[in-house]
Symmetry: C2
Subunit: 574 residues, 2 copies
C-alpha cells in the first residue's frame, strides 16, 4: 500500500513513466465546471496526473472531449432480459461504466441464490456493479413469490462492500406505519443507503419516510414531487426507462442550485430501447436536447451519482480517481466513441473489445415448478352474466375496474367472439402449489390464441391470457417446457417462444438475439393474433399481476382490488 502510494507519487510527479497517457484531451472537469485541455496520465487502473505527461504508451485523442464513465443510479438488469455479462457487453460501449443494480426481480424468484448469481456474474466485467439489497421480497402479501427475504436473510450479504444498502422501499405504508420486519431491514443497513420508491407521498407521510432513512427517489413524475423531496434532503434520480420516462418533465425542475442533488437512472429498460436509444448516454443526450448545458448533464451522470451513493474515486477525471473514461465525438451530440475502464480501452465505436465469460447458471435455472394445469382449473364460475373485468388503458400500467355483461355456459364464463373479454390466469410457478388466480380482461384484444409469460412483476408467476382454453393450456405447457419464457400460441400450435431459462426472466442469449425474437413475437401478436396496437402485450402482461399499481390486478391468489387493497370475486359486483 505504502509502496503503491510512493509509486503513484513518483508517477504523478513525473519521476516514472505511467503505463498510458491519453494525449491532447478536452477534459470535462466536473469540479470546476470547465473544459480543460491536457493529457491524462494513467497507471494501475487509476488516473495519476492531469497536465503534460509522457507515458510508456500514448494515445493521441486529438482534442476530442473526454468525460468520466457514466453511472446508472438505479437499474434492474433483469428488465433487459439478459444476464449481467450480456448487459455489460451492450451498455459499456455506450459509456456506462458503473451501475447500481437492484436485483429485485431475480430475488423474487430465487432469493439469495439469485442475488449471489447476479453478484458473481458481475465480478470480472469492465463495469462496476454495485448492488442494493431488495427490500420487498415478496413485494406484497397478496401474491406468492419464489422466496422470502426477511431481515435475517439480508444480513448475510450486507457486509459485502459491493452492497451499498437497501433497495427501493416500495412498501412505504409499512415504513410509515413502523412495521417491525421492515424497520429491522432498515436497521441492518445502518450507515449504508436506502433507496426510496414512494410516488405520491407528501406531507407528514414523506417526513416519516425520510426519517426512516430513505434518501433517494426515482419515481417522481412531476416537478412538484421532485422539489418536495429535494427539500427534505432526498437525491432525485431522473428516470428514462422503457415503461416510465420522466426526463422531459423533470429536467425542467433542475436548476444550477439544486443540480448537485440530481442524477440519472434507467430503472427498467428493454432490449429494443437500449439497442436503439442507448443507456445513460441517452439520458445525457435528452437532457442536453431539453436545454441543459452539457457539463451539467455530465455531472448528473457522473459525480452527482457517485456522491449520492458514496462511491469513492469514481465519477471524475482527477488524480486518484479510477480511470473510467469515455471519449465523446461532440459535446452536444454526445456520441460515445471510446470507453476506457480502469485505464483499458474496452470499447470503440460502439463495439465491445472485451469477452464476457460464461457464468454458472445452475442455481438459477429450472425455476418453473407448477402443478399440472387442467382445463377445469381455468373455469370461471359466475353467479349470473355480470362480472368484474380488468380494463386496460392505452400506454399505461394503470387499469380500470369495470363491470361487464359476459357470455356464460352452464354458469361458467365463455368467450364470445364478438365481445372483447379475455380470460387471464396467474399460476403459481415456484413451489407447484397449484394456486391459480383467474380474471377477465378487456382491451387487450386477441383472437384464436394465447400468450403466456413467466415475467410477471413482482413474483414472476406464470401469467397467461387467451380467448380459448386449449391455446392457453398449450402456452402454459410451452413455457414450462422451456423452463420459463414467453410464448405465443394459436390454433393448437406454438407460433414462437422466447426461452428465458434464467429464473424464467432472463435469456442466456445476446441482447440482439433476444430483441429479434421479441420483435418477431410482437409482430405475431399484433398481426396474427390481432392484439390491440395501443398496448405492448408482453409489458402489459408483465404488470397485470402487480398488486400495487391501481386499480385492479390478478395474482396467483386471485383478483385484487388495489383501491380497496383486498381480493374480490369476479362475480361479486356491487
Amino acid at each position: 500500500m505504502s509502496d503503491n502510494i510512493k509509486r503513484m507519487i513518483d508517477l504523478a510527479y513525473g519521476r516514472e513513466l505511467p503505463e498510458l497517457v491519453l494525449k491532447n484531451c478536452r477534459i470535462v472537469n466536473v469540479f470546476s465546471h470547465e473544459i480543460i485541455e491536457g493529457d491524462i496520465a494513467i497507471d494501475s487502473g487509476k488516473i495519476v496526473g492531469i497536465g503534460q505527461y509522457k507515458g510508456e504508451k500514448e494515445i493521441d485523442l486529438n482534442w476530442k472531449y473526454v468525460a468520466p464513465g457514466l453511472i446508472d443510479g438505479h437499474v434492474h438488469i433483469e428488465s433487459s432480459m439478459v444476464t449481467p455479462n450480456e448487459f455489460a457487453r451492450v451498455i459499456v460501449p455506450r459509456g456506462t461504466t458503473t451501475i447500481i443494480a437492484d436485483p429485485h426481480e431475480i430475488a423474487n424468484v430465487c432469493g439469495l441464490e439469485g442475488l449471489k448469481f447476479m453478484m458473481n456474474s458481475g465480478m470480472e466485467l469492465p463495469l462496476n456493479i454495485f448492488f442494493m439489497l431488495p427490500s420487498c421480497v415478496p413485494a406484497t402479501s397478496f401474491e406468492n413469490s419464489g422466496a422470502i427475504l426477511d431481515a435475517d436473510k439480508l444480513r448475510e450479504l450486507i457486509c459485502d462492500e459491493r452492497i451499498l444498502g437497501l433497495g427501493e422501499l416500495m412498501d412505504y405504508p409499512s415504513v410509515i406505519l413502523g412495521d417491525e420486519d421492515t424497520l429491522e431491514k432498515v436497521k441492518i443497513v445502518k450507515g449504508k443507503l436506502i433507496d426510496g420508491h414512494g410516488p405520491n407521498i407528501s406531507g407528514k407521510d414523506l417526513n416519516a419516510y425520510v426519517i426512516a432513512g430513505v434518501r433517494t427517489e426515482h419515481e417522481c413524475s412531476t416537478i412538484e414531487e421532485m422539489i418536495n423531496r429535494l427539500r427534505l434532503g432526498m437525491y432525485i434520480l431522473i428516470r428514462e426507462g422503457s415503461a416510465a420516462r420522466n426526463l422531459e418533465t423533470l429536467i425542467r425542475g433542475v436548476t444550477k442550485e439544486n443540480l448537485r442533488r440530481c442524477l440519472f437512472c434507467t430503472d427498467d429498460k428493454h432490449p429494443e430501447d437500449i439497442l436503439t436509444l442507448g443507456h445513460i448516454d441517452n439520458n445525457v443526450r435528452l437532457s442536453i436536447k431539453m436545454g441543459l448545458d452539457p457539463i451539467s448533464a455530465i455531472k448528473m451522470a457522473t459525480i452527482n451519482a457517485a456522491e449520492c451513493y458514496k462511491l469513492k474515486e469514481i465519477g471524475a477525471i482527477a488524480p486518484g480517481y479510477v480511470a473510467d473514461i469515455i471519449v465523446i465525438d461532440d459535446l452536444e451530440k454526445f456520441n460515445v466513441v471510446q470507453v476506457f475502464k480502469n485505464g483499458v480501452l474496452v470499447a470503440k465505436n460502439n463495439v465491445p473489445l472485451f469477452k464476457v465469460k460464461a457464468v454458472d447458471v445452475s442455481k438459477v435455472t429450472d425455476t418453473v415448478r407448477t402443478k399440472e394445469v387442467r382445463k377445469e382449473d381455468l373455469k370461471i364460475e359466475l353467479k349470473g352474466d355480470i362480472a368484474n373485468v380488468i380494463r386496460l388503458l392505452p400506454h399505461s400500467l394503470v387499469t380500470e375496474k369495470v363491470i361487464r355483461k359476459v357470455e356464460t355456459e352452464k354458469g361458467y364464463f365463455k368467450h364470445h367472439k364478438n365481445l372483447d373479454i379475455l380470460k387471464i390466469a396467474v399460476i403459481e410457478r415456484h413451489k407447484a402449489t397449484g394456486n391459480i388466480g383467474l380474471g377477465l380482461v378487456e382491451n387487450f384484444k386477441l383472437t384464436n390464441g394465447a400468450i403466456a409469460s413467466t415475467i410477471a412483476h413482482d413474483s414472476h408467476n406464470l401469467i397467461v391470457i387467451g380467448d380459448n382454453d386449449e391455446d392457453m393450456l398449450l402456452a402454459i405447457k410451452e413455457v414450462v417446457r422451456v423452463g420459463g419464457g414467453i410464448t405465443i400460441c394459436s390454433k393448437g400450435e406454438v407460433l414462437k417462444t422466447l426461452p428465458l431459462p434464467i429464473a424464467g426472466i432472463m435469456s442466456n442469449k445476446s441482447m440482439e438475439e433476444v430483441n429479434v425474437t421479441l420483435k418477431e413475437m410482437l409482430d405475431l401478436a399484433y398481426n396474427k393474433l390481432g392484439v390491440n396496437n395501443d398496448i405492448d402485450p408482453f409489458m402489459t402482461l408483465s404488470f397485470l399481476a402487480l398488486p400495487v399499481i391501481p386499480e385492479i390486478k390478478v395474482t396467483d391468489m386471485g383478483l385484487f382490488d388495489v383501491s380497496k387493497f383486498q381480493f374480490i370475486k369476479i362475480c361479486d359486483v356491487e
Copy 2:
C-alpha cells in the same frame, strides 16, 4: 435503535408529539436553494419533520430566518489563546455549532497528551468538535518541539470517530518526495480525509500532492491557485482569520457551478477579531457583502463543509439531521440571534445560555522547562562589525535577510541606541536542553525593554527580543515563573504579563479577559516601549521562529536561512 426509528417515524407522521416545535420559520433550504415557510419539529436532538407540526413545547419564531448551524472547516483553537470550553462559549452564540479543529499547536508542546486534553475538553459542549491529527509534529527538523508524533503515535488515536483524518500536510516536499514516515502517516488514515497546506504548488507537484490523498486546501491566496486545486478535485476552504484573510479575493472565484466544492474556515483567529468581527458568521456576512447570494454563502458555511468532511446528518435542516439551528434577524445582515444545539436553545442575542465545565489541565500545564539562562548565553560573537540581520516587513509574516554594520564590544554585539537593531533569542523550553538560537532584528523597534513569549510557531519555544540583556533575562524569568505566557519588561520591571499556563499557549481565563490584557500590553508595547506601529509585536514574535516562511528566521537551533533551507551564522556574511 429500532425502537428509536419507530418513535422517530411516529413523531414525523404526527402520531406522537415532538418535544419541541419551532413554529413559523423561514427556513433556508440548502438542498432546494429556497426559503421555505413552515415549522420544524424536533425530538431527541434531531429534526423529525418540516411542515405543520404541534409540539409539547412550541417556540414561535414569527417568520424569522433559520439556517443550519455554521461549520468552521479548519481552525486552530489554540490561536484564540483560550481553552476549547471558552472558545465554545464565545463562538457558539455567533452561530458556529461544528468545528474541525487541528490541535497542531498544543501537539507540538504536549504531544498526545495535548491532543487528549483538547478531545476531552470538547466532550460536553454545545459544539461538535471534530479533529484532524496533526501531521507535522515537529513542523520541521530545524527546531526542537516538545513532542514527536510519528505514524505509530498517531495510530493510537486514529480510530476515535471524532478524528476525521490527517491535519494539514504542511511538509509538502516530504509528500512529493515520498518520504517514508510521511507516507506512513498518510497510510494510517486511509479512508479518512487528509487536509492540505500547500501554497504555491502547481503542475506535477500538485498532482503528486493530490494523489497522495490530500483533498482540501485552505492556503490559497489567488483565484488561480484556487481553480487549479478545484480542477484536481480538492475542496477549497476560504479562510478569513487574523493573520491571513483571503475571502475578499477568493470569493470572486466562486461560481454557481463550483460552489459545492467551496467552504469556509478561520484557521487562526485572535481574541480581538473573534470578539469584534465574529467567527464563521463573519465569513458569511463578508461573502454577502461581496455580492454572493445569502443562500449560497450559507451553503458554504453548512452543507458544503459537511460534505467535504463527510459529516453525517449535519449541515441542513431536514428530517434526520441533527437539530443544530440558528435564527437570523435578516438574511443580508446575517446577525445570529438564537442558536439551538441538538434542539436546545444554547444562546440568545449573543449571550451563551450554557455553562462550561472546568477541565483537568494537569497534564498540559507546567510545560515550560528551561535550563537557567545566563547573561553570557545571550552573547553574540561577531568576526567584525558586519552581521546578518532579520529585517521585518510591515504587516507581513515574511522577513528579509539584510546585512548591517553593528556596534560591537570585545568582539560581541552591543546594542546602540541610535541603531534599530535588537537582539532576539529562542530558548528551547520543553526539555531544558539549554539550546539557544540567537539573532538580530531590524524594524521591530523597541527602547529600554524586552518582550518574551512562549507562543512561537510551531515548536512554541521561548522567544525574547530586547535592547538590553537585563530586561531580556527578566522577561525570560517572568514567563518561566508563570508557566508560559507573554510579558513586557522595562528598566528592570515587569510591566505586564499574560499568563498562558496551558501548554504555554492558552489561558485559563475568559476570552474577554485575555483580550483586555492583550490590549493593555499592546498599548504598553507601542506607547511605552515604542514598538513599530506597522507590526503586531506579539504576532510578529510568534512567527519569527517558524522556519518555513521566507526569508530568514531563528529557532532554538540557530539562525535559519529559509531560501537556502540551512542554518547560517550571524557573522558569516557573503
